[in-house]
């Protein structure tokens, strides 16, 4: 029996549907959640979250948030969330260059500003990474089950 998965961000519902496995960037390392997982509440790190159902994989870029697991439901509360195939690579690349440019000028005096630039850099790198690694996966579904068993 598949597990129900729901991904929400502060301003929208990103995804809702059944899943055979949800692979999430947990605070203490990447974790795969199968149906009937024991209840769990964890914070999420920056990373790519993948939802697999019947051999089709959907990937989302997540920049922090929470994950709640019940035996039949997985709920993701993402601070920033985006479907990998909706990522605008050109924009992400421009954002990365802008952030790197700013950091090259030497760290800004203001700590908040530094943190803002740094997190912008992390987000843009994550987007590019996600788009590069998972951007095309949806188009060519792999053989079902084969890679879950390994």
């Amino acid at each position: 029996m598949p597990i129900q998965c729901q991904i929400v961000t502060q301003d929208k519902l990103l995804f809702e549907g059944p899943a055979d496995i949800v692979i999430a960037p947990g605070a203490e390392g990447e974790m795969g959640i199968l149906p009937n997982h024991s209840p769990l509440l964890t914070t999420l790190d920056f990373g790519v979250l993948r939802v697999k159902y019947e051999g089709v994989e959907q990937a989302f870029v997540i920049a922090g948030g929470f994950l709640e697991v019940r035996p039949d439901v997985v709920t993701v509360l993402a601070d920033v969330g985006e479907r990998v195939d909706e990522i605008d690579e050109a924009r992400a690349r421009a954002a990365r260059e802008r952030a790197e440019e700013l950091l090259k000028k030497g760290p800004p005096a203001d700590k908040d500003e530094f943190l803002a630039i740094e997190s912008a850099l992390r987000r843009s790198k994550l987007r590019l990474e996600g788009a590069r690694r998972y951007g095309r996966v949806r188009q060519r579904p792999r053989m079902a089950e084969s890679d879950e068993e390994s």
């Binding site: 729901q6 502060q10 301003d11 209840p39 769990l40 509440l41 914070t43 929470f66 019940r70 601070d79």
Partner: protein, 302 residues
Amino acid sequence: MASDREMRLRIQGVSNIAQVTRALEAVSASKVRQAQRAVELTRPYASKAWDVLQHLSRQPARDFIHPLLKERETIDEILVILITGDRGLAGAYNSNVVRFALEEFREAPVPVRYILVGRKGRDMMARRGQNIQAEFSHLPAAPSYADVSAIGRIAVDEYLEDHVDQVYLVYTQFVNMLRQVPAKKLLLPLEMEEETERVKTYGQRTTGPEPAYIYEPSMEELIERIVPRLTALQIYQAILESLASEHAARMVAMRNATENANELVYALRLTYNKARQGAITSEILDIVGGAEALASAQEGGL
């Protein structure tokens, strides 16, 4: 009495105003719907986050209450986040919410500081010499969560660093297109909502005793991260709701303005036509009089 030309210009001017206000009304009407939709979209996250927090705060083994949830014994200073619009032409929308805030906190026994969202609120409060800590104006027309999360961060920081002991949110609730009411809400310390209703929704999903959860990294850490997000989210929701109210208020104000302008055009046109008629009548009288005089003169001459 204005001249013909002046009257015509006046009528033209007023009907132009009516046209502009009618257009503004239509624009506002569509923006109300947009803002309402945006509020709707925040609901799934909000209700889920509340569920989780509720769940965490009900755990019996907790010997520690997170400072953001704990009520302080003495209140030395209050922070108020007041949400207004950037622009006028919205009837009494801005002044209502500002007046409401001033009345609510006039009696406060301790100093009150304000964070102001919106240019109108900033101007009004600055004129009244209120203590303003920060202002956020010129937000985008459809703000995203990221645009406003900084406000929540300031509020949480001020609270955690003990500069203030309570944080209130004053905004305008959207009741319907014709009614928007200013409202006050305690933001920090975070108040747990009434449990009864939520327990019910919980009960439907899980049966029997609640399962034991695994917490990663720890419960404290989880609360630590979820509360500031909920705070910022509440501010975001209040801003969106105020935005819907602002557009609704503007829509009604513009509709009234259009109606008034049309009435004025009607009255002006009546006067203008009367004057024109009067002028024509007296001209005819002149001609008739002149013709008669001429005729009688000719008769007398014969």
